[in-house]
Symmetry: C3
Subunit: 358 residues, 3 copies
């Protein structure tokens, strides 16, 4: 969709510092934008506007200089990335179409579906499930019995939602996601074999949660597994039974949480982080990639390493680990030299004076 820059700025709620009649055909990356594109110029790109061919730039509102105003068309924004997101939405995302229930979908007779929803072909929805308004269910999705799905939620192809799970409004579940599979719980019997502990709890996905492709969120043994409102989960993430994730947290790809882990609000878990059973991660904590959360950690701090430590301590350790191969031999050489000098000046003394003296 094409828009004039002035109209676009108005729709985005930001000032138009430039030619309002300039035609914008789309949003593009800074490096590859053509003269009909709007782009984002933050970070190191902010000072390199001349290197982009873009028609106009979204920039931080407090960085605009008079010299720039004469040379560039600028859209200053308090939250430039948010404005960028809205611009992509406006220019590139076609409005959602309600397609109704495909004749090839298979719904139990008592399934309730709100108005404006789409259920694609080959989708299967079990008895007692209720979908809100403007829900989109793509082909191949299998939804169990007694599942609840809120308004405006989108579920991409080949997702599986087990019985009794609850999914909020405005959620996005990408292809291959599995919600509500059994937790990994066994008891050893007299012979040492594993007896399955039936997993009869549930899983609750609150509003505004997005879950990446092929991620898996297990149901609780008893009680519930819960993903807090606004939390965003990347691809191939594993969340075990009885985990509770707070609101607006970020879990990057290949993160794995053991049973009963509690993650606070606005926590960031970077890629391939793992967590031991039952540990708690405080609000606002940031965990660096590949860390192993071996114990509970307080919020408001950045952590790294296996076992987990503060990022500061971890960096110090890593610096020393890299130095040791050089400094240790040097120390041992110098220490031997010192010992030799002492031996030469005190020839009567034994080599292990700590034990032998006095």
């Amino acid at each position: 969709m094409a828009m004039k820059l002035g109209d676009l700025a108005a729709a985005l709620g930001v000032p138009c510092l430039g030619n309002p009649d300039r035609l914008i055909l789309g949003v593009a990356e800074f490096e590859t934008a053509s003269p009909t594109h709007l782009t984002l110029a933050i970070g190191t790109r902010r000072k390199q506007l001349a290197s982009s061919r873009a028609a106009a730039f979204i920039v931080a509102a407090d960085t605009v200089t008079d010299a720039e105003l004469t040379r560039y068309d600028l859209l200053p924004a308090d939250y430039p990335k948010v404005t960028f997101a809205k611009a992509i939405e406006l220019l590139h995302v076609p409005p959602r179409q309600a397609l109704g229930i495909a004749p090839e979908a298979l719904l139990a007779p008592d399934v309730v579906i709100g108005e404006g929803s789409t259920v694609g072909p080959r989708a299967v929805i079990g008895a007692g499930s209720r979908l809100g308004a403007r829900v989109t269910i793509h082909p191949g999705v299998v939804i169990g019995c007694r599942v609840e799905i809120g308004d405006d939620t989108t579920i991409f192809p080949n997702v599986t939602v087990y019985d009794d799970a609850r999914i909020g409004a405005r959620c996005i579940l990408h292809a291959g996601v599995v919600i509500g599979a059994d937790g990994y719980g066994y008891a050893r019997d007299a012979t040492g074999a594993h007896v399955k502990i039936p997993q009869v709890g549930t899983v609750i996905i609150e509003d505004d949660v997005e879950i990446g492709a092929n991620s898996t969120i297990d149901r609780a043994t008893l009680g519930e597994t819960r993903i807090g409102r606004g939390t965003k989960i990347d691809n191939l993430v594993h969340i075990a039974h009885n985990c509770v994730i707070g609101e607006e947290s970020l879990l990057a790809a290949l993160v794995g949480l053991s049973g009963g882990v509690k993650v606070g609000r606005r926590v960031t878990l970077a890629g391939q982080v793992g967590a031991n059973p039952q540990v708690e991660i405080g609000d606002g904590a940031i965990i660096a990639g590949k860390a192993g959360i071996t114990k509970s950690v307080a919020g408001g701090e950045t952590y790294a390493g296996v076992p987990i430590t503060t990022l500061r301590e971890w960096k110090r350790e890593r610096i020393y680990a890299a130095r040791i191969p050089y400094r240790l031999p040097d120390i041992e050489t110098r220490l031997a030299a010192v010992e030799a000098r002492l031996d030469a000046s005190q020839p009567m003394q034994l080599r292990q004076p700590v034990e032998s003296e006095d």
Copy 2:
């Protein structure tokens, strides 16, 4: 389902130390149980019965005191977690219903299915496949040709089983599992390009195996990949071609085994463990989370780290890694001081006496 405590104890095969007429409506977690719930009290909770509102407690048989008998309704058990598992089964798991073959399932004409089985809508089963009795195939499952599946096995939605795989009795495959995809095997040709080595072996899942959501178990190049009886695999686990896993082992989430790895009996691989090609892990070995099994390790021992070492050595290393940033500078300061004292008392000597003396 509700039961009287006495009847429940009888069904569980444990004594009823308490009011046999007390009505139990379900099993709940220790912290959230209400006065109609049975719960499990082991570990730190064993001494905190007063803090739970539960109607009755499953406890270890040898820990019951006379004082407790007057205050609590107890079910003492030799294997409390096993009894807990059975109680959940009794009170919360409805009996399986045989629903037959859905009209929307698609089966090759020669598929054989045992009595009491369920095949859900949208399932596809290829020519020559044979399913045992009381098998449950959920919607969206795709089973290839010549696959064998044992009695009482359950396969959740959107699982894929490639041609010729064999799955035992009483197995559970959770949603999105892939059994029998090609192993990752290539040969470099004269130009350096990767030529695919066709993967024509098979994969055998023995009896009583459970496999978590979206885990993948590749077929063998030649020969077989095998998962031993009673082994339990968590979500998002990767098992490569020609791996052989022993009986009753545990593989936690996001574990990745390279080609030809041999895992013994009753081995535990914690989350995110990886193993190099062809390594062997002895019976009863426990591998801590995130370890990299870079070489074969003997059984009966606990290991950790990358490269793999014993847990004892790994802990020692980690302790020293944390101390080094403090102790190394101290050592260097003291060493410089010693050198300075020697220089002061032996002013004629050079600083590097090892090379220069005599």
Copy 3:
């Protein structure tokens, strides 16, 4: 399929050093081969031909001795593993059958499908998509709108391809793969909540790419995510938005690449490697398993560790990390002894002479 050794050698393009009339019924592993099998003897097995019962051996062309010629039937090859791959293909892989479009497949009216293709039951293909010749689409596959798929590509069950993705010729996508899900991109708004950045770029899989079960390759935010020709990706791999992978690279299982990572040509990423956003990995680089690519690395070198370093440095660090718990206490004991000896011989001096002397 059975072949005479001479005919097999001719088909493989290698000399037949042995009885051309010997009947070969199949290819088998060195250890388990029977006297009707061909096998591969390279590496440590090359010197152990007597320990295998195989009828004939594929060996490296330059290693054949006169003594061996009298005892064994050999197929000498310049690239033994490539010849082995071809032999498996000849003897074990039935020719592909074109089955046409199953009546239970669901295709938009304008879908174009080349000759000799197979579309299995329950597959769904959206409007505007175009498939080449001899393409195989297995059951349960969901292909979005405007997708392009090249000749001779095979897509296994339950794969999802989102709208607008392009997949080349001779590709193999294993079960559960997800191509083109949204990248993981958000902007924080004034309240700190995550605003989704619409992911409107695309994903391009070039020719001859193989992708393992349940791997996920996200579409770009803007622009494209690209997997280069001949690259082979193992199971459960995550490739984020805007990554660009060069030609003929290898990505082993559970690798995770953050947004915008650039991987060169013929790079090897071993299992469970992770990479930070935007890093670049040079041509021919080899990254050891579990490494964390925290910064860009040059090609032609082997790397390991978290943070990433050269394999040489990493090994040195690991050696010292293992020694430190033994050498550090020894150093401290010896240093204390030296200090004690100095104190004994210089009783008037203070213990911290660096600060106190002169």
